[in-house]
Symmetry: C2
Subunit: 470 residues, 2 copies
């Protein structure tokens, strides 16, 4: 968008958001919901009708608390913040972004106050996207994860030479990256009849509707920053959207259970499948056909080891599985401190660097690769990062049940048969659309609420083996 378009877009988006909000939160809708509740009383809670009323009621009860002016202002400020973030990141200038970050925090506070909360303002924000999640629960999760990961990371660091990823530094052209990644995601089950893959500065998945679920990706110069894993990741989101039953089209039940559950699908395909040895036993030769001599002397096991090298770094999106949650923790803690007034916006870079040192053992980051690296703080609310960690946890918890139901999963993946896994996800996750909350969904599938145990066990097992840790 040309620079001059920011004000127009801010006006347009905020007008549309305001009208949509006013229409949904009107008294008419409230009365219709009450009448509908009477009508569905006694129906199966899982039925389309009962779920529709229950979920729409929850949405309504949340949204009706937000003044239309606040919703419109959020849309406006987000649009205004975006190009300033781009520029601040380019210049590495936190001070330039600081006033916009102050707006984000201010509007997040207003949103929390409007939604209401029992204990902590952050409850209102993270509970909105991940229903049932509280700040206390988040902090407990983080402290368990930190207690597990930080020492484990130490053990890995002592054995850093056990995993060689030098093959990833070999150059690799953009064309083969795109061709191979498109081949992979179609084989996994992403449908091009209802999707496409394009290029963008930052990979994302967006659904214009159930028939038009698009992915973007970005190519790099080497195997390390090739688009393969980013494409697999986004296709996980895409397959979730494409898997929601068409009977839920154009209803509030369409879409994913939450950003966290969405992320469980993308992370499951990217990491638990895409960074597994059986996966590369299947895809090594097809990849070689695209990438040619860039893979000379590298076999499936070598490539598997390379793409699983643990290496603390500044970048969340490029982080390995072991360190990824530490990046999320750092952001959530900062957000919560900002919201509860213990941290000033001006001090974010300093606190960022202190946590970077503490959790990841890294020297201070340039702000462009530090607090300005993610787009999320241009959204004038806080609380969106936690979905990434919830996604990691859920993906591992689901995978334990997948392996119980499909004991030959590894053999199937190695044979290039992804249909059983996708079918399982379709039946157990995608089929519910937004009917269930994240915890309801996970408990129904795995018998237990969302918990960190399976993820910790998965990471310890996989990386202990890779790094020869007893």
């Amino acid at each position: 968008m040309p620079q001059g378009g920011v004000a127009d877009r801010a006006n347009q988006v905020s007008t549309l958001r305001r009208i949509g909000h006013q229409r949904f939160t009107s008294e008419v809708v409230g009365r219709l919901l009450e009448a509908a509740a009477d009508e569905v009383a006694g129906r199966e809670p899982d039925s389309f009708e009962a779920s529709l009323v229950r979920v729409t009621r929850r949405d309504y009860d949340d949204m009706v608390k937000l003044p239309a002016g606040l919703v419109a202002r959020q849309a406006r400020e987000e649009t205004i913040s975006h190009p300033i973030w781009v520029e601040a990141k380019r210049l590495g200038d936190w001070a330039l972004f600081e006033p916009r970050m102050a707006v984000t925090v201010e509007l997040a506070r207003q949103t929390a106050e409007a939604l209401g909360y029992q204990d902590r303002p952050y409850d209102a924000l993270i509970g909105l996207s991940e229903p049932g999640l509280t700040t206390a629960r988040m902090e407990a999760l983080f402290s368990q994860l930190k207690a597990e990961i930080v020492p484990f990371l130490g053990a890995v660091a002592e054995r850093a030479d056990r995993v060689d990823d030098s093959v990833l530094s070999r150059p690799c052209a953009a064309g083969p990256q795109l061709a191979f990644s498109l081949e992979v995601i179609q084989e996994l089950g992403y449908e091009l009849e209802r999707g496409r893959q394009d290029l963008s500065a930052h990979p994302f998945c967006t659904a214009f509707g159930p028939g038009d679920v698009r992915l973007t990706t970005r190519t790099g110069k080497t195997l390390f920053d090739s688009c393969v894993f980013s494409s697999i990741h986004e296709s996980g989101h895409g397959m979730y959207y494409q898997g929601v039953p068409r009977a839920l089209d154009r209803t509030p039940l369409w879409g994913g259970a939450s950003p966290g559950v969405h992320e469980s699908q993308s992370r499951l395909w990217e990491n638990l499948v895409g960074r597994s040895l059986p996966f590369w036993r299947h895809f090594m030769e097809p990849m070689r056909a695209h990438f040619g001599s860039a893979l000379d002397g590298c076999d499936a096991e070598g490539f598997y080891r390379a793409v699983n090298r643990v290496q603390p770094s500044y970048s969340r999106v490029d982080a390995d599985e072991v360190t990824y949650n530490l990046h999320v923790m750092l952001r959530c803690e900062i957000e919560n401190d900002l919201l509860e007034g213990r941290l000033a916006v001006a001090d974010v870079p300093e606190v960022w660097n202190a946590k970077l040192q503490e959790y990841l053992g890294l020297a201070p980051a340039p702000v462009a690769n530090g607090p300005l690296q993610d787009i999320h703080w241009t959204f004038p609310s806080l609380g969106s990062f936690i979905g990434y960690t919830m996604g990691n946890l859920i993906s591992a918890q689901l995978m334990e049940t997948v392996r119980r139901d499909l004991p030959d999963l590894d053999a199937r993946v190695e044979a290039g048969d992804f249909a059983a896994l996708l079918g399982w996800l379709r039946a157990n996750v995608h089929s519910h659309g937004r009917k269930l909350t994240p915890n309801e969904l996970v408990e129904r599938i795995t018998g237990k609420p969302i918990q960190p145990g399976p993820w910790v066990a998965y990471v310890r097992r996989k990386y202990s083996e890779l790094y020869g840790i007893d």
Copy 2:
């Protein structure tokens, strides 16, 4: 868009269109307009307030006649028709598009009936986009134009060898086309701070708002189908949008007077400026710097002559100035016959070919280059083509006044000074936004209502000289 997205987009666009229509045509708006009319009584008709009420009232009186269901269905059917048209064009299969064309005609009839008309249903449709224009006036214009152009075209054909455009068949890479065209349109006055140029299958200009006015263009393989003239054309639309005063932002007065007046701006820059000898005296060397040896042995006069070769062809968008209006005439006559029930949709290709022979002396066209060549019949209304001819006429009529006010225009253009011309257009055309109807605008500027004389005189003069006709 993936094929699967058509239904989603049809739903979304029709919902948005319906909501927008319902909001605008609500009784509340009607009452506000009445109150506003009282408030502005006695103000200068040209004042912002009086114009705002007058133009919004006209829009309201038109729109209130259209049932919301019809508006929503138009949006839906347009979305559905588009990919079918693409496919029918690809296959050269009119029968495939026929049911969609039938929908277009049916909805055009419903629209005309809803809007109402005194004499002919087409009046309602062309009057909606070009206020004041009637079918009878259009037919009179066409018959004058036909009487002038067809014999003149005969005289040109007898001297076809006088103009050599062989230079245009030389190959020319896409990169230099885009770089040179971007240089040209910026020099003309198109602002990149509030715009950009991208690639698309069919060139167009779209304004997301006054600060974001975008152009698309398409490159070709030779100088003949290079993007230069298409870029200049679209920049004419773009400069019009960029020239509307910011005081009219977000009001119904923002935008152009009509599609025809819009086209007058694009055609003026493309043809009356861009296909003139002074223009190429200025731009020949800059173009040579981009295109290199492709222009060896060709000077400004040679290039000027080449880009003005008259050659009846199947394609409207590539038509030369002399034959262009015949393409428009053909379509408008067919539309009117369809609307008045004298022509069946199935017979359109046959009638198309008969007119092609009569007006342009051409053998029958393959349907892909015949009735399927334009996108317009996917729009479920008719009456949009006439704007192209109105644009041609208005451009020449305005140019007569420009030349009176700026007698040294040619010298300025040759010196690369386009600011005086753009300033004139800004002051006399763009500054009014939608305040005036096309006829009011043209009469205010030129002292006369829209008429074909200046265009006929311009074409006869220019092409008589080029072809050595006495």
